[in-house]
Symmetry: C2
């Protein structure tokens, strides 16, 4: 008897290794499964595509949504070779799969030279205390925009 | 005398309004500026493209990186109509622009029905206490992958 979850994780790790060895990007891979079928996969492609958002999870989430024709991944499980970074975790919350499995932890990633842990700390910091300066500007104009959105009758919420 | 920063923010807000009124997505816009020139722009396109990662900032960051042929945005400033959500903030940290200006706050966004504040809370929560279950699986395989990465001599770090 084999545990399908373990096989899915091995697929994610295989993609990570493939991506690393073919210089596609860093050692990260992800598969997304629905009803025990792999519907999407991704490997990190940051350096080969000059896209800092091309993390394995983001690549796989975008592909899964294209495959399903929706921006929501309910009923899906995500297997990733490493605990998602804050960007990917944010993407996961917006896509809303049912469950996430990860192999290595954020600390293992930090030990291998990836900034995840630092970014987690930065997200918890107040806006005034961030390493990248973040400054409020023309808040009133931004609020007016949201008022217009709230009044809009034919909008698609997400 | 006009303040160029204010003009860039008005551009971002104009894109947000345009995207909202053309049903491209939610009321969010972003421009990226280098040496006082707009090099990229984005509007939220989540619902029209079925891509939960197509937030204005992610769209603009990807476009700016394509334009510059790099995955790093040092020397750039990002103007966004709303304080970035955790996904976009993560993308910003990976892309590393010099500075971020935002109009509406995350609380203004929550008031208009956007989950950002909830996701910020989830990111601060321990892995065991997340609303989407996140489970460790085969950590050893993930660590082996990172060991291989560390030993790799011809890698491109990011």
């Amino acid at each position: 008897m084999t545990d399908p979850g373990k096989n899915f994780m091995q697929l994610a790790i295989g993609l990570a290794r493939e991506g690393m060895n073919s210089a596609t990007g860093g050692p990260f891979g992800c598969v997304i499964v629905k009803d025990t079928v792999v519907i999407a996969s991704g490997k990190n492609a940051v350096t080969s595509t000059n896209d800092p958002t091309a993390h394995a999870e983001v690549v796989a989430i975008r592909q899964a949504c294209r495959a399903l024709g929706t921006y929501q991944l309910n009923g899906c499980e995500l297997y990733t070779s490493c605990e998602p970074c804050p960007m990917c975790l944010g993407a996961i919350y917006w896509a809303r799969p049912d469950k996430v499995y990860y192999a290595a932890t954020r600390h293992d990633a930090a030990d291998a030279g990836f900034d995840d842990h630092f970014i987690y700390e930065q997200l918890s910091a107040t806006v005034e205390n961030r390493a990248i300066p973040m400054l409020p500007l023309q808040r009133e104009s931004g609020i007016i925009l949201f008022e217009e959105w709230k009044l809009k009758s034919d909008k698609t919420s997400y």
